[in-house]
Symmetry: C2
Amino acid sequence: MHGEVNKRRKNRRPTMVDVAREAGVALRTVSRVVNDDATVGSELAKRVHDAIAALDYRPDERARHLRLGVTGTLGAAVRQLSHVNPVLRAVERAARAADLMVLAASTEDDERLERRVVESMCRRRFDGIVLEPIGADHGYLLPELAAGLSLVAVDRPVLGLEVDCVISDNMAGIQAAYGHLTAHGHRRIAYIGDDERIFTAQERASAFRASVAGAGGGLDGMVHTGPIEPGRIARALTTARAGGATAVITGNATISVEVVRGSDDRRMAIVGFDDSELATLLRPDLTVVAQDDQAIGATAIDLLRSRIADHGRPVTRVTVPVELLARGSGEQPPP
Amino acid sequence: MHGEVNKRRKNRRPTMVDVAREAGVALRTVSRVVNDDATVGSELAKRVHDAIAALDYRPDERARHLRLGVTGTLGAAVRQLSHVNPVLRAVERAARAADLMVLAASTEDDERLERRVVESMCRRRFDGIVLEPIGADHGYLLPELAAGLSLVAVDRPVLGLEVDCVISDNMAGIQAAYGHLTAHGHRRIAYIGDDERIFTAQERASAFRASVAGAGGGLDGMVHTGPIEPGRIARALTTARAGGATAVITGNATISVEVVRGSDDRRMAIVGFDDSELATLLRPDLTVVAQDDQAIGATAIDLLRSRIADHGRPVTRVTVPVELLARGSGEQPPP
DNA sequence: CTGAAAGCGCTAACAG
DNA sequence: CTGTTAGCGCTTTCAG
């Protein structure tokens, strides 16, 4: 007799309508209870909760978000999820504090994947996106921004586009490292860094050159940038030593490790860029220029929220101070 | 005259209707073009694409997913996004190969946060969730599973619940490590591991005890489990050495690091559980029992997809083989 | 291919 | 508080 009704109920997740029927209340009331609106009597609320439990009802956020227009969700598109990334951790914390959910995905340093990820988050109507932009062309972001995307770049700017961003003060960090080493008596200091096509690598290398120039020193054989390969780094070290270098500044944590591994027992003072768990594993412990990850993450979320609130506000670029942590490797005097 | 129309168009994202109007085609046709259905003429398709570009139209997946019932999205709830996690990387890759998007969030080893994250993903109607379950009570999962959640646990099972899972063969790994050390002449071997309330730690410690018992050895002073604290680990090492141990098996990568740091110049053979970037940084390089991260991730996605396809299929638990990688630290003979 | 219309599950406006 | 209803933006059925 009621075959049709039964068929429709079979294998279907319960909706608010089902809950309302089960509890014998109006749909409106269920909606209120689910969004815990205070204006509903506790007796009715209980009936609704019982019905929800009885039916295993789960509200569908897709519908809710569609209706509301916002999703309460932030995307994080980072180079590699499964790598150490203190900034991402800070981003998650700050977002949680603002009652926003962060959902993250890897771009794997692949332009096309970055694009797929970001566009996917846009189509899902995430309220905003935290992006660790990779290399080249970000033109695809233009229509997204025009269509209302709120975006903040961390670690590096989105080149050629007016986008909020928060980056570390790379220049001050290199200056601090350089000054620290000269204060400990070093006169010939080398720099070994990442490929200068990477924004931070370029900034740091430039800052190093400027520091040397400011001190009236020579650069020959002292600046080595390129891909992170043990062979290249070993050769760079050899060249630097041959040129009289007694100390070295490294461009990032991976390079620090390679340099420490390559310099073995021979004494060179080292100041590394970026702190890492490895820093205190080495002997002597590694003196580093550390980013303020907490500040970067919190600032990124602040910028994103204010951009979401006012899509027209002027573009902001924040530079976060870095800190030199003296731990031993940077305080060795020249031989 | 057309004031109302203008008002409605202001500050609103364009929809398919707008695109259809702009292109002078039917809504239906736009939908086809967007989902690149081949049955639409190339001339019309171009008109539609032009209209999309002109209006900066972005399809709204929320609506699409609501209508379709599925989201093409998998969630990954892991202990800490910003930690090295090769399994998560494998999960992302495998999902991409299946044209599914993975969105990840951290549970920070916090039960309540895990619950918030998982429930949030459920309400967003993710097609499935990959979970690295933490400690205690997973009762909250019961109604979600009843409501249709597809879930796969990685690294450890969801205790007390019938849920698909894929874990490493911890027992075989410990046996391999133990056999490797005895083959190199060691007769007294110690084990230093994590807190046994953690599933993997418990499994590994048990396997170690079984190995020793099988070899007819004694356990006194040879098994040390507990929290990961440098002090505890140093004391454990001292006790083990005093008891005549000439080799040590460690319960995870962090403990390996502490043990290497603590054993310094004195010679002890070491086999570590879990590979890590540090393993080849140490001297001698660390011999490890390595998980097959790729297989774990791929299997997790397989299980999840088959669970999504058939929610009623029997629960499956997969144990993935581990591999012993001899690198030097585990091949040192007893003094 | 077009045009019209139903429906996904929710929120919110409206009149009782 | 209840009951009804429109509508979020999309897919899809149905008749032309």
